[in-house]
Symmetry: C2
Subunit: 410 residues, 2 copies
Amino acid sequence: MPPASNSTHWTLAQRAAKMNPSVIREILKVTERPGIISFAGGLPSAKTFPVAEFEAACAKVLKDDPAGALQYAASEGYAPLREMVAQQLRDQSAAAGQRWDVDASQVLITTGSQQGLDLVAKVLIDAGSKVLVESPTYLGAVMAFTPMEPEVVGVAGLADGLDLADLAAKSAQARFLYVLPNFQNPTGRSMGEASRAALSQEAARTGLPIMEDNPYGDLWFDRPPPAPLTARNPEGGIYLGSFSKVLAPGLRMGFIVAPKAVYPKLLQAKQAADLHSPGFNQRLIHAVMQDGFLDRHVPTIRSLYKAQRDAMLQALATHFPEAASQPEHNLTWNTPAGGMFLWARLPQGMNAVDLLPHAVDQGVAFVPGAPFFAGPPDTRSLRLSFVTPSVDEIHLGVAALALAIRARQV
Amino acid sequence: MPPASNSTHWTLAQRAAKMNPSVIREILKVTERPGIISFAGGLPSAKTFPVAEFEAACAKVLKDDPAGALQYAASEGYAPLREMVAQQLRDQSAAAGQRWDVDASQVLITTGSQQGLDLVAKVLIDAGSKVLVESPTYLGAVMAFTPMEPEVVGVAGLADGLDLADLAAKSAQARFLYVLPNFQNPTGRSMGEASRAALSQEAARTGLPIMEDNPYGDLWFDRPPPAPLTARNPEGGIYLGSFSKVLAPGLRMGFIVAPKAVYPKLLQAKQAADLHSPGFNQRLIHAVMQDGFLDRHVPTIRSLYKAQRDAMLQALATHFPEAASQPEHNLTWNTPAGGMFLWARLPQGMNAVDLLPHAVDQGVAFVPGAPFFAGPPDTRSLRLSFVTPSVDEIHLGVAALALAIRARQV
């Protein structure tokens, strides 16, 4: 008989000690109560999922080439989907006034864009490497980088770009700069054209590679965002995209566009990580996207999310009418031009982590902003998602949030 | 304008230098010629894919809970599928005479079992850590471990188990031993009951964790294999399973069963790697597997592959009738009791890498065995897959192989 189980010597890798449950996930456990209106989630609205189109695509793919869809496949991804991604990026960039000659051979299909972050981390980060991120930034990226044990350094984010002086002070020896230029998670901020041009110049000047993550770029409300950073210097950046916000996250489909300097190593990392992304799912995405489906579908998502953002802005203005004149005694917020999130700030002396349980008692949840910062956090900040709840729920939720804030102010 | 693109300083991680294209993939490029009969591939026969059942499952899943199937989901996996996996392992182990109390909470759904290897590597391997593998072993595992920069040490494999003296000599400080006890890739070998009991004892004695990879275990021909190693000491091992060989690889669905000592860290690695495996695919697998489908379906795969193995054995015996009496002057081979691969050995003085182009000229391809060895390779060894070609093709292919060998012997 084997001896008792605890005799096995499990020695965990050093990196495992640094890998911890998402702080936000832990925080959100208090919000998992029935009846809570949640501004906390980062989930696309399920109303936007093109279910009928997926049904038709399943039938078509399994009829046209079942063996191809269900067999092992190339690590690079399904060739027609790679070509479709390249074409879309060429078109979007041209429409934004920037020629970007994306070739399908530069496209690597990934298991969600989260996997793109994992692969880039493996290929570009040694233990102790400096990696620059906007502060605040997407926590999932930091979680993907952490197993490779980098030193993550925050660069101050501004309302429409990065603080380039701060960047210049920190960029020596950095392996790359990770940015979300469009409707960023968590802040909803976007980089304007001038900011992009200046950042691109600065990165080119110092030779700093840019990792550009763009899951939300298609979700603009009034006008498309300026051309991607990568389009301005394709050999100097890696671009990550996703189908999660324009079709559905449950298929886990994303992609990387990478220059020749790194593509072969990303491909080898991909092969080692999961051989290839599901060929069935790749063909579903390709089948759904044929005949310009996104041109008809994405506008419906934009108008839904815009209406919900407007409802949130209206509710906030109703409950905090003196936000502009007395910002230190009110909740203040920004006006995102797309995406899923709005960034707000509590009155002076308040802390978003402390407020959360009281807000939940009032029936509303949000995500405190502090965990998103690399470096000194703004403990008054919070992230409000406007895409999951309905317009009515948004009004009720903001009213509940206002009650919780006012009660703590007294 | 940004300066020329080559001014960007791409500094690759040290591990990237160790990540190289699969040697086998490079070797197989010579075989990519129309009309070649391939014993080289590791692909399940597409005839075995239950296409009609997947069609029905797609319709059912998208009708019953489209929002659930297409939305972001828990990193652990779809709860009913995790329960189904646990139940199946409990049943199979009990049928093999070994109680194994697998609980669904120990099951982590992965994007193919290849991802299981990646996650285990992240959690258990530091740069320089010693990792033990059978020699020869599955190359994809070594590729998954490589980015974490281990020292991979081969333990000699025997016809029905591991060389335990060699294991004892090498196991000090090893992070784990990686084994495929059933119908191993590349050799088709299996560990017998006595070998498993002895290995389990030895691992428990020294506290060596076992990583047990079991993609082929359901593909037995005459009788089910003995109980898994992990069932004998559940706290001392990690078990990796796959749906690729019993349903279809193109959905990329596998799983890990892990003890509490490592499950939480594997889960965090999973979350960072791709958030979760596609929820749609998990529900498809679950829907197809309901009502005991595998009990009806897998026997059809077994009898197909058994007939093809028999055809290969028969063809080999026809073309090398003196293999038993004069092994040094003939091709020799084993008789796998399941799975997809047969392991063969060339006559004295021949080298499988050198032979391959000549075999391809004769119209047949195989995989040389040398790249599968960690440590000194047997350069005469080769792997023959009997699952992709038809029975007729198997006879033709073996005849072509015999011609190539005889021509080189003169």
